[in-house]
Amino acid sequence: MNYENGKKENIYEIKNLQKWFPVRRTMKEYLNKEQRYIKAVDGITFNIKRGEIFGLVGESGCGKTTTGKLLMKLLEPTGGELVFNGKEVTHLNHSSLEDYRTKVQMIFQDPYASMNPRFKIRDVLEEPLLIHMKNEERIKRTERIKKALAEVRLQPPEEFMERFPHMLSGGQRQRAATARSLILNPDMIVADEPVSMIDLSTRAEILHMMKSVQRDLGLTYLYITHDLSTARYFTDTIAVMYLGRIVEMGDPDEVIDNPLHPYTKALITAVCEPVAGKVNRIKEVPIKGEVPSAMRIPSGCRFHPRCPYAEEKCMIPGIQPELEDTGRRHSVACFRFKEI
């Protein structure tokens, strides 16, 4: 699925990407040569434009984090194709992987857990340099570290370099983690829930910082989150995932103000808003139950058991709704979106 978003080129093309995790077999299955899979990511297709922030939104278990790891090459895809900067990167050998790793970096959800507690910030930031630029002098490395820390506004850098992660506040830690991902001058950064562990009062501060760094350096972000509110503010394109598939994708304002997929609609109604007059009123949540296991994906449209609008045509095994462009930079994967 593609939109013509200006004349920007695609930095990353994801084509029918799949990741199936095999389930440990029982003796019977072993004898029958059966194998069940957890289909964490089951055929997703989207393009990320150079210089944009692409938001991947969904509930836990929808496959958004797996997608991030697939793009980071931390997992090998089961099927599909990945094209980065015009080059196929689906499967990489050792040397081209090393090259790829300098171009794509990651920011993790928990900034504390993503840094070795025994490393000083200096060591944390030095690690990518030691891995990829072994021959550089120590003084030059220090210069780079200082520059990166200044970029994320951890001032003065000299002081922060000598601190351990636990001596920083949550926001400062995430800044340091961002600095680490910037230090190799990457083209793209995968940010997996970068602010969900950070206090509400400083969350926006981190998002500001990430956005200004992105503008300054012309970076591309893949922003993975469960939080629609920050996604609306932060992203240029948003994709909603459900059970390993993208159900709706497009301009964030358009998707949130005018959702087409029943799942997106339910998500948006369920979000709490800090406005008066909602207390003591039971909220209408149009969908029932919880997300089924990715091991037993319903046939037909995988949302149909929870969908209030499901019809017979939604349940035909083997036929899944594909993303359909509605114009207005908005596409949806639903058989009945025009009727509802």
Binding site: M72, N116, P128, I131
Partner: protein, 467 residues
């Protein structure tokens, strides 16, 4: 900066450590052992003991199977202690072309049980004739020995009253005792000193009432040839009690043996523990990190090593190869490394799932970097703790192998002392001072490290978990 960090870390550690009483006790014991090692040269009465532990001639002047000196304190009958009379009255004279040297020793006997032996020793060469005479406090004078000696190249004159004056002593006794008693005596079973230090009266062979007072021993050396030289005469009183820890039935000083054994015990313990724990930790981490097929393969290999019983293998290997301390340590390492593997593997599996490991992988870090930079440093506290716990194990194993007579013959270890004790029936003969000190030392050394290890475990482990 780094040194200060280390200092802080250490002082923090020490603050925590101080709270664990058993750890402090262990540290105290360890310090005690270290001090003993450092001052070993000063403390050793027999400086060559390390090299000549199995050289019987080195120990010949000691009493045999003598209990420690301090046992006198607890018994009603005081045994004579051992001593060396080194500065005798010396007199040179010339009689008809024969040069003579006369040594006069004065021995103050104030015990209830006489010495085992009285030995006259001198240096020199040639074939001197020696006359030993003995004057008792009651005025009796006995000529003990009159004999020609050939000194030869060794240049050492050694005359033992216990060996050479049996008949003279019986003769002396028969002057007071009935013939029927003295006649039945088997000279080879008689210790002449028992007669010589007893009151001269009827029934002296049986009752042996000690005669306390000043004894004078005169040794007259007659140099028959022109070139004969005799000098540095001394008298060695071989008592019935000896030194700090007594002697064994080979006359070896056990205090010396135990003291000399400390450094070997430490060496065996620490070296084995460091090598095997390091190996085990690296193995466990690699196995956990690689996971999947390689993990399975490595764990099967590990299980093979676990299931081979160490002791029989050690015995066979020691029997086949010339047992030396180094091969012993090597053998123990080959089997001891399995100890920490399982725990380390499970800990490493947890660490492997940490986000910062994944972050490092996302940065493109190599396997070696992740294992050695990120994972193993976290396991260092555990490694230290388990090293401390493996040290006693290694010491006991060495003792066991030595106990079976398969130890390194060039050194003295506690296990070997125990082994000798067992072979000589020390327990049956009631020579407890041969068995208890080395056994206790093994236990104390083990305890020291076990306590340190437990304390470290207590301090370092929760930190690892709560991080």
């Amino acid at each position: 900066m780094k040194i200060i960090d280390l200092k802080n870390a250490l002082s923090d550690f020490w603050k925590e450590f101080r709270k664990v009483k058993s750890g402090i006790f262990g540290l105290f014991l360890f310090a005690l052992f270290l001090i003993l090692i450092i001052f070993e040269p000063a403390l050793l009465q027999f400086p060559e003991a390390n090299n000549r532990w199995r050289d019987i001639s080195y120990w010949e002047n000691n009493p045999k199977s003598a209990p420690p000196e301090w046992t006198n304190f607890f018994s009603s009958k005081k045994s004579s202690t051992s001593s060396v009379l080194e500065s005798p009255e010396e007199k040179d004279s010339n009689m008809g072309g024969l040069r003579m040297k006369e040594y006069t020793f004065i021995y103050n006997y104030d015990f209830d049980l006489p010495p085992q032996d009285i030995i006259f020793m001198a240096e020199g060469n040639g074939d001197p004739m020696v006359l030993l005479s003995f004057t008792r406090p009651d005025g009796e004078s006995i000529d003990l020995i009159q004999k020609n000696y050939t000194l030869g190249d060794a240049g050492r004159l050694r005359i033992s009253t216990e060996k050479d004056s049996k008949l003279e002593a019986i003769d002396f006794a028969s002057g007071y005792e009935e013939y029927s008693v003295t006649d039945k005596l088997d000279p080879s079973l008689v210790n002449p000193n028992e007669i010589l230090f007893s009151k001269a009266e009827k029934g002296m062979i049986k009752s042996k009432i000690p005669l306390k007072g000043e004894y004078i021993l005169k040794a007259t050396v007659i140099m028959q040839n022109e070139n004969d030289i005799v000098k540095n005469g001394k008298l060695i009183i071989t008592g019935r009690v000896f030194g700090v820890l007594g002697t064994d039935s080979y006359k070896r000083d056990l205090w010396t043996g135990v003291l000399a054994g400390i450094k070997w015990a430490l060496l065996i313990g620490i070296l084995t523990a460091i090598i095997s724990v390091s190996l085990g930790v690296v193995y466990g981490v690699i196995s956990a990190y690689l996971g999947g097929f390689w993990d399975t393969v490595m764990m099967r290999i590990f299980e093979i090593f676990v299931s081979v019983p160490l002791l029989p293998v050690l015995i066979v290997m020691s029997a086949v190869f010339k047992p030396s301390i180094w091969t012993l340590i090597l053998m123990m390492c080959i089997f001891f490394w399995v100890g920490p593997v399982r725990t380390v593997r499970s800990m490493a599996m947890q660490i492997r799932e940490e986000t910062y490991i994944e972050a490092s992988r996302a940065l493109g870090a190599s396997h070696a970097r992740i294992i050695f930079k990120h994972m193993i440093p976290l396991l260092i506290p555990y490694s230290f703790a388990s090293m401390a716990i493996y040290i006693p194990g290694a010491i006991v194993y060495e003792a066991t192998v030595s106990l079976l007579g398969l130890g390194d013959a060039n050194i003295v270890t506690w296990g070997q002392i125990l082994s000798d004790a067992l072979n000589s029936g020390a327990v049956l003969n009631g020579i407890w001072w041969w068995v208890v000190p080395p056994g206790l030392s093994i236990a104390l050394m083990g305890m020291a490290f076990a306590f340190i290890g437990f304390a470290m475990d207590k301090i370092l482990h929760p930190k690892l978990r709560t991080r």
